[in-house]
């Protein structure tokens, strides 16, 4: 039995509440959010108790704190929760700076509690298969990768915080970090990054809009191209998608959201056209991710994505931001 407090009743807070309920219907759930109506909605839907952060810290029955708040708030919440003896799960990106991320990691080590960061792509089946195929050697050694992740701008953020680079870090830190993290695990350490993002590189800055391109060279000599986008117009029938291509010495692996669709709906009710293109599944990567965290707590073993891992992935994203800002290639060793 665990007593779990979710901080933040936004999009991810909802996803996590659903996942915790899928894992166990009886675990006490708590929800913390400054906006009463949002907390209440989760409370009603998933049977969670509304509380303040201070109440959670003081409540010794709560053993897990799950941080689903905007990135710029992560450090303070995580450090205080760890100091209060809670195990902490924190959404990605871990933080906006290495200093913040390291403070969180230090607090975790000092507390002896579990600290895991939500690099959930590692739990998506189409990415797990890539790692399995790479290990099996079906396509030889993987030497080149192209990954796309993007869609319309995440306008669901409270106070439009995604649009403020000081709060979200922009498209590399918030979105492409998934792909940086996956590639780091697949291809090893990154050596050089050449990147541009519209928000960081162009004089024609526009809020609520970003598009990033990054060219990576790994220590192994492997190359990768990462495209992250918040540039698709709002209101499109398909508002998010991913694509990847992994080239090996003996073949390649590829997957595209546009091709692998299991359900398509076209309908028009009362003159309102509606289009759906989806891939519904019972397997939920978020549930798998949180299950693995709870198991690590129960069995007292290392979490799948610890603070150090998250710090290394953040470093790559920050190097991309640095390159985009300075308009020159950046060695990963410059970011420390």
């Amino acid at each position: 039995m665990h007593s779990i407090a979710i901080l933040g009743a936004g999009m991810m807070g909802n996803v996590h509440a659903r996942a915790y309920r899928a894992i166990d219907k009886r675990n006490p759930l708590w929800i913390v959010d400054p906006i009463e109506s949002r907390a209440k909605a989760i409370s009603e839907e998933y049977g969670a108790t509304v509380a303040s952060f201070e109440e959670i810290l003081e409540n010794s029955s709560v053993d897990i704190v799950d941080i689903c708040t905007p990135t710029f708030t992560h450090r303070e919440l995580a450090v205080r929760a760890l100091r209060a003896g809670k195990h902490v799960f924190c959404e990605k990106p871990v933080a906006l700076t290495l200093e913040d991320a390291r403070a969180m990691d230090r607090a975790a080590k000092k507390s002896g509690r579990k600290f895991m960061v939500g690099h959930v792509v590692r739990f998506f089946p189409q990415y797990i298969r890539v790692k399995e195929l790479a290990a099996a050697g079906d396509v030889g050694e993987i030497v080149m990768a192209r990954l796309y992740r993007g869609g319309s701008f995440p306008s669901h953020g409270i106070d439009n915080w995604f649009a403020d680079i000081a709060k979200s870090g922009g498209v590399f830190v918030d979105l492409s970090i998934h792909d940086f993290d996956f590639l780091r695990k697949l291809l090893g350490p990154v050596k050089t990054i050449e990147a541009r993002s519209v928000t960081l590189s162009s004089e024609r800055k526009k809020n609520s809009f970003d598009h990033g391109m990054a060219i990576l060279r790994f220590e192994s000599g492997a190359l990768a191209h990462i495209e992250g986008s918040w540039a698709e117009p709002a209101g499109m029938p398909v508002n998010f998608g991913t694509f990847y291509e992994f080239v090996g010495t003996k073949g390649m692996i590829t997957n595209s959201y546009e091709r692998e669709t299991t359900l398509r709906l076209q309908t028009s009710i009362d003159g309102k056209p509606r289009y759906l293109q989806e891939n519904p599944a019972y397997f939920d990567p978020y549930t798998e991710e949180l299950k693995s965290f709870i198991l690590s707590v129960e069995k007292d073993r290392e979490v799948p994505v610890n603070g150090q891992e998250a710090i290394e992935s953040l470093r790559v994203a920050l190097a991309a931001n640095m390159s985009a800002k300075l308009h020159r290639p950046v060695e990963l060793s410059e970011v420390f």
Binding site: M144, T192, S202, R204, M213, I215, A231, P233, V247, T249
Partner: protein, 324 residues
């Protein structure tokens, strides 16, 4: 009757151009020259055209000349044709050095000869429509571009550093550079390149990624790798993702394909869309008949080659290079 000579058949596109010519009316292919006699004789047998031992003789009997020799030998054949006052269609890249490319353009100008470069992708109806969409403002302001030109590792003289002039970067940079120059009315001003021989044991690079800055202010990446495995059902692609402030456009110009799954021959995709080589050849024949300027000119070939030249310099020096 419009008479056309073929100089060099090292590049397999020569076969495609001959097939395109044979589908047109009032065209005579006067013959083929290749310094490799066995290659010449085999191609002539395959395509039912006459071999000729002397390129000058062949050129004298023609109205126009198609050069599909190895990249590094384009100049010598262009000089023969231009010297005889014949219009020329030259395979891409225009040459392997800027010096050669400039000399080719100069001799054509001096002899009042049109020089067309084989950038077939620019003839694609999708590319033309994209230009209209951009010009019509449907994307708002274009802010970044992501391109690919993937292909299979071609082998043969393509991987000879002298005859090919490089590897994947030389072979696959110029198509996308050419269409973007035309789509946005821009030049490429800066390049950063990273590349490597990662897949095959060959003397040139098989993988490359480039970051460009355009004169119109945008940044653009290009993946020019020979990274399509033999097992892939299709030879490769030319794609371009154009991101604007009000919308995005995705081009995948060779994606009109049918999928074939054969127990006998394995699986493959077959193109059914417009044949861009045919559109290119039709333009060339029109150049010969009307004296109009070609759609893709020698100067376009030179600008694209300057980008490639700077791309290699960037990789050698590990930094961004201004393209002059």
């Amino acid at each position: 009757m419009t008479k056309i000579a073929i100089l060099g058949i090292a590049h397999m596109h020569g076969y495609s151009y001959v097939r395109a010519l044979k589908r047109m009316n009032d065209i005579e292919i006067v013959g083929l020259y290749d310094e490799d006699r066995s290659r010449m004789n085999k191609a002539c047998e395959d395509m039912g055209i006459k071999p000729c031992e002397k390129p000058e003789e062949l050129v004298a009997r023609s109205d126009g000349v198609i050069v599909t020799s190895e990249n590094s030998t384009h100049r010598e054949f262009v000089e023969i044709a231009a010297g005889a006052g014949k219009h020329i269609l030259c395979e891409k890249p225009i040459a392997t050095t800027i010096e050669d490319a400039e000399a080719m353009i100069k001799i054509c100008r001096e002899n009042n000869v049109k020089l067309q470069i084989a950038f077939p992708v620019r003839y694609s109806a999708s590319v033309r429509k994209a230009r209209e969409i951009i010009a019509g403002g449907l994307l708002g302001e274009v802010v970044s571009l992501v391109g690919t030109n993937h292909g299979r590792m071609p082998g043969g003289w393509f991987i000879d550093p002298v005859l090919g002039g490089g590897g994947a970067v030389m072979d696959h940079t110029v198509h996308v550079v050419d269409i973007v120059r035309w789509l946005l009315d821009c030049e490429f001003t800066q390049v950063y390149t990273t590349c490597g021989t990662l897949i095959y044991d060959i003397p040139v690079e098989d993988c490359g990624l480039e970051m460009f800055r355009l004169s119109t202010g945008q940044y653009m990446t290009l993946d020019c790798s020979w990274s399509r495995p033999k097992a892939h059902p299709y030879w490769g692609d030319v794609t371009l993702h154009i991101v604007g402030t009000d919308g995005t456009l995705f081009l995948d110009v060779f994606n009109s394909k049918i999928e074939v799954y054969s127990n006998e021959k394995g699986s493959r995709w077959e193109a059914y869309g417009d044949n861009f080589d045919c559109l290119l050849i039709e333009d060339f024949v029109e150049v010969l008949r009307s004296g109009k300027d070609p759609f893709t000119r020698g100067e376009d070939g030179l600008e694209a080659l300057k980008v490639v030249d700077a791309a290699y310099k960037s990789f050698r020096e590990g930094q961004e290079i201004q393209i002059c």
